[in-house]
Symmetry: C2
Subunit: 141 residues, 2 copies
Amino acid sequence: MKEARDIFFNYVKVKNLRYTRQREKIVEAFLRADRHITAEELYSNLKKVDPEIGSATVHRTLKLMGECGLLDEIKVGSGKTRYELKYKREHHDHLICINCGRLIEVRDDKIERLQDKLARANDFVPKWHRLEIYGLCTKCR
Amino acid sequence: MKEARDIFFNYVKVKNLRYTRQREKIVEAFLRADRHITAEELYSNLKKVDPEIGSATVHRTLKLMGECGLLDEIKVGSGKTRYELKYKREHHDHLICINCGRLIEVRDDKIERLQDKLARANDFVPKWHRLEIYGLCTKCR
DNA sequence: ATTGATAATGATATTTTATATCAATAATAC
DNA sequence: GTATTATTGATATAAAATATCATTATCAAT
């Protein structure tokens, strides 16, 4: 996943920020990580390999990644924010199991188009959206 | 809005909970309030009239109202949860202006049906959903 | 109406997640 | 190499929600 990395470090350069060891490690760990990871999980992953990284820096770097469009914040359920890689992935929606918490990614182009139409019909310029369908997954019903 | 009130107090009765002065006031204030109110806002509304009500009780009562299906929790943006009356209102989605924060309620039956279909196609039993479309409203574009 | 069991309350403490502070350090331009 | 200043990590703080707990209030049984 070389390109996503480059997006980030290009953003850093453009904004006259600095290329640091920590940022590099955090970005790479994020790109390697499971989808929908929390800041805390990412921090503890990194901690194992490199105990010299602070959680504040993880939060700060995730924020930067958000600013340059690399990830989305997903706030759902327990108040813990989850971060999801956005760049170069097709947009998708989520099915969320209310019993076990499983997240399933789905997509339906017809829905996407209708959403756009709906927004425009209300004199609204859509930029992005979030659709979460709550219910029971196969295992839990 | 008598019926919503009754839903709540019926739930209280069924669960062998108690009918208290505070619960009554909180529920009625919520039903009178603007849509998408926060716990804090509701608390401060109540405080003006009845300084004897505690914020913990407001939170607890909102939770109860959620359990009996009277309201939805909307977690968006700032980490502050907003509560929205659900009972006897048609389900709707939200357009959210990323500039001024305006919330516009919308609904499209075709989208609703497709969402249901999408969930079932994934072996998922949908219970409810949330669709938020972010963008710019008329004033802000 | 009185009483007994116990649910509910409000004040406060605690938890949880994210952000701010700040002295020390490290990255970059010159 | 040096000066400038962004970044870091530890820690404190903020902000929202929940837990604790002694006291009070509800309500069923009498």
